[in-house]
Amino acid sequence: MRVRVDEASCQGQQMCSIAAPEVFGSDDLGHATVLITGDLPAELHAKARRAQANCPEDAIILEE
């Protein structure tokens, strides 16, 4: 699994970094950044899914 942030949709809700702080961070505007750009370790998959599900802007993209 890999994750991406759709920058055009992200509004800086930070729901992703709350759900999966190992995977998502924040840029200087408070918009989401991806901390792990390669394949996510299996133990973070559930958290990444929760980050996607909790984003009100639908800005988290999971590639499986």
Binding site: M15, S17, I18, S26, A53
Partner: protein, 404 residues
């Protein structure tokens, strides 16, 4: 249609006649929101308070929030303005919350860095110290008002520190903000008076910063951003106005509602004590269940939305608290489940007007509750029926006596 007297009278059918300042709705708005949401007409309309639409389903509220070109932010208050600001006060809004594109982009971009998670983290220790000193003041009394002695005292001091204005004026700031956002919503004279108080105060602050620029000072930095964006005094005044008005009543209401909840739920107090890792999720859940803020939008042009014939200039109440209790989006929506896995709440709105101060609000709410529970692990409501609430634009307890 701007005073309580003109808008009083019993509500027979909330779908066609809701009254956001009805005492029962102010105290507990959720039953009315449910009734509207589960009716055939989940977007209600009422002629009270100048007329408005009231969407209650998550999907509708989010769709409206994201369609910012049709549903504009040229006014964001839940009731119409009785009197415009004139003369020296004219033209001061609350950017970026009152801005529409294209100006919205730079109006927002200039202030976002101040509120990024890593930027607000520097206020954590001072907020913790502040919370502890407030508790020092009443911890030996065996009782306190969780709303006025504690919740109300926190955000105003954090915001005053951020703005570089005298923290000793906190009581005045609180009174101005309540005058604009609470008491003033049903009393146009009070609202106008307090809007002028705020603008007059910040005009003096701007003049002071121009004469004596400060290092690491938000107002000085904003005034000096003219090389990047077309910054005017009106803009800087507007940002200061927004930070004071939007940063105080809202967060204090969230802290107050959360303490009111915890006072009645020993199992949740225990859960938080036993699982400190739960805090980030718990904060989101309390924000969902007790979302304090309802904003407004103004319809740009005649449009039919979900079968509702909306006209240009119509007001829409963005019922984020109703959206956040929609069973279509949240399982068991009326229950507080501190470790709720699926929590796509919109307490901070959605789309381009997502609350700019959300990360600061989260920090203040978490620290305020953590310090309270560390110092006062067991407490209960002194008089459950004696708790009073504010509502309309911002929902939260105003008197909430607890004993410990």
């Amino acid at each position: 249609m701007t005073t309580l007297e003109e808008n009083a009278g019993p509500v027979n059918d909330p779908n066609t006649d809701y009254n956001i300042f009805d005492p029962e709705f102010v105290r507990d708005p959720y039953p009315t929101m449910h009734e509207i949401r589960e009716s055939k007409c989940p977007i209600a309309h009422s002629n009270r308070w100048g007329g408005s639409w009231f969407p209650t389903r998550y999907e509708d509220v989010v769709a409206i929030a994201q369609e910012h070109e049709i549903f504009t932010s040229r006014d964001i208050v839940v009731v119409p303005r009785a009197a415009p600001l004139e003369g020296a006060y004219a033209g001061v809004a609350a950017p970026p919350i009152t801005s529409d594109p294209p100006d919205h982009h730079w109006h927002r971009r200039l202030i976002l860095p101040v509120f990024a998670p890593q930027a607000v983290a520097k206020y954590e220790q001072s907020t913790r110290d502040l919370c502890n000193s407030l508790i020092d003041g009443f911890v030996n009394n065996g009782e306190a008002d969780a709303a006025t002695d504690y919740a109300q005292q926190i955000p105003v001091r954090v915001i005053a520190t951020m703005l570089g204005v005298p923290v000793e004026m906190s009581d005045e700031f609180t009174s101005w903000v309540r005058g604009v956002l609470e008491i003033g919503l049903t009393d146009p004279k009070v609202r106008l008076e307090n809007r002028i108080n705020i603008i007059t105060f910040f005009k003096q602050q701007l003049e002071d910063r121009k004469a004596n620029p400060r290092e690491n000072d938000l107002i000085t930095d904003l005034l000096n951003s003219g090389d990047k964006y077309p910054v005017t005094d009106q803009y800087v005044l507007g940002v200061c106005n927004l930070m004071l008005v939007a940063g105080i009543d809202t967060t204090w209401s969230a802290i107050g509602s959360s303490l009111w909840h915890l006072a009645q739920h020993p199992e949740h107090r225990r859960q938080l004590r036993d699982n400190p890792d739960l805090w980030p999720m718990a904060v989101e859940e309390l924000l969902r269940a007790y979302s304090p803020v309802t904003m407004a939008r103004i319809v740009d042009r005649d449009i039919e939305f979900q079968g509702c014939p909306m006209k240009a200039g119509d007001r829409i109440l963005m019922a984020f608290p109703a959206a956040n209790r929609d069973p279509r989006q949240f399982e068991r929506p009326d229950e507080v489940i501190l470790d709720r896995e699926h929590n796509r709440h919109v307490a901070f709105g959605s789309g381009i007007h997502r609350c700019a101060g959300s990360n600061l609000a989260r920090l203040e709410l978490r620290v305020a509750l953590q310090v309270w529970l560390e110092r006062i692990p067991e407490f209960s409501l002194t008089d459950p029926a004696g708790v009073t609430w504010a509502g309309g634009q911002v929902h939260g307890p105003r008197v909430c006596r607890v004993r410990f």
